[in-house]
Symmetry: C3
């Protein structure tokens, strides 16, 4: 893992300074030297959270800078591929297409071998039939009467294919999902996915640090709006 200074944008520091010397200072001191070095979340996890936020908010311009950080700190091209595929469903199809445009160039520049990407239809992880049965029953009750197509696609391909793909660990898949929800202020969907993330190994400290990272990359208001929702989940689980 290189120890080179991490750029926090595809923009050069001089370009930032030409409009805002203050923002160039915050970029170096607050974002690069403080936020990214906090031990509550690894650089690898921070890069996953940040890549997910940028894709979820459809901001591909800076994506190459953060894909480089991710690939330099242990995220594999295969995992990047799965993150984008996952967010096609959780952030919107065209968000994924924008991410593909940016990532294709990064992969080409770094000489990523297409043979190392996850196959279209790999053998899947086993499903937890008990929790899946609960999910199916809940969606059948709420979504089924209104949008049977949505109910059907939520089962296949979402929960019986996408979520079972082995190229990204369930914990990281949940981390990506929660990051995307916080990034877009979609509080109503956070409890289900945060519980799933914590069932899959995300700690309460890491969950709080995801909000901290999101404050910078999705703005303070989205992070603050997520706080009471996350607090409620943590409170219930502590009982």
């Amino acid at each position: 893992m290189p120890s080179s200074p991490m750029p926090v944008s595809t923009l050069e520091s001089d370009a930032i300074r030409a409009v805002s010397p203050a923002l160039a200072r915050y970029a170096d001191q607050t974002v690069r030297d403080d936020l990214w070095k906090r031990p509550q979340l690894s650089t690898r996890d921070r890069s996953i959270v940040t890549v997910a936020i940028l894709i979820a908010r459809n901001q591909p311009d800076d994506l190459p800078a953060y894909l480089d950080i991710a690939l330099d700190h242990g995220v594999t091209p295969a995992e990047i591929s799965e993150i984008i595929t996952h967010l096609a469903f959780y952030a919107g199809w065209s968000n994924a297409m924008g991410a593909i445009r940016a990532t294709r160039e990064v992969f080409a520049r770094r000489g990523v071998d297409p043979a190392h990407l996850p196959p279209a239809s790999p053998p899947l992880n086993p499903i937890n039939e008990e929790s899946e049965a609960q999910r199916v029953a809940a969606v059948a009750k709420t979504v089924g009467p209104v949008a049977p197509g949505l109910e059907s696609f939520t089962t296949m391909p979402l929960f019986r294919d996408l979520w079972l793909r082995p190229g990204l660990s369930p914990r990281d898949r949940s981390l990506v999902t929660v990051s995307a929800l916080v990034a877009n202020g979609q509080s109503a969907q956070i409890p289900y996915h945060l519980n799933k993330a914590m069932d899959n190994g995300l700690t309460a400290e890491q969950a709080g640090e995801v909000l901290t990272q999101a404050a910078f990359y999705a703005g303070w208001p989205n992070a603050f709006s997520a706080v009471p929702v996350v607090a409620a989940v943590l409170g219930k689980r502590a009982k």
Copy 2:
């Protein structure tokens, strides 16, 4: 109407595959061959919903691909022109400007005759004075005391000009509006416009299928957040 395979992005399949073979498979099998062929909503309606979602979410990069689907399946250039004009008010002025940039090139490529676009000030459809009086009273009570300018512009040009333009049917205008609201998670505004849409001819089955289409193009969380709101509207109307 051509039966040629519909591309689901301005990106080529090979470009998608270079980053995610899985996403290229979902593009072909799930989106193109399954979602778009479901009979609950016509290809024409799906293309209107998708174009509205992309404009509402300010994602013009893929817009040309979906404008082509729309124009190949019965949506006229005049209707496209009205959809963009409508969304200038319901999605934001700059979203419409982005859509103009993309659409101008599609119209030029397809040789759309400017004489076929709706005039700036056509004779308007008659207004339903009874429902308009109710709307005026409601807005005067809620918006008037806070933002008299907003109250005024909501009457003119919004409800006494834009909504009465004959270039897009009231049902399609409502379909565009509901799609934009779902696309941006603006649940509070869905009941009024979904009721208006159903008064104008949108069926409950079609409303549910709009959510299904929106799940793919605006992401699962936005579709799921809209479900209880749509369910409440359908429940009240069923009584």
Copy 3:
């Protein structure tokens, strides 16, 4: 201050007309000649609101047109610099980067002297220790137990550095913040910041007119969703 016609997009009128003659009419009659000339908010304030909305919604394409309006009507390059820096925190880091890209070209075209930009670390305005103590206590109670990192960064650099920078008046800083919150439908965060804005000099009439301006640039649904929140704040303050 020039009296030249204000363009409402970087697009030429002819380009708009080539897709929608109606939208070109609305651009001239409704937006330029009506909205922007309403006396409830100065052209300077409208340009600040609109620039903030475009940055908050990550729509840099039209930003140059509105930066020109701002700079032609009394907003200084130093204030533009501070607005972008402020929104890096309130709208997201990458939104600010996009704004930097657009603004750098405008500054270069207009020959803005970098020596006139606010320094990275100027002497700060004094803090109101009483209201700051209240804020610290509230955040310690709600955010602290969930995300201690977020609590810490909210104090420094947010409230003990960014908000005290003298390059943008507290009233204008609040105007930018409220505009960004309305622009992204972040209603939960509006009461705190609208109260702060009004404490800093924003009038009730101006607050309502911010919603009117936001209706056009962030879409009617975001403006309407903010109305009851703003009404509640105004109602409490009137007591």
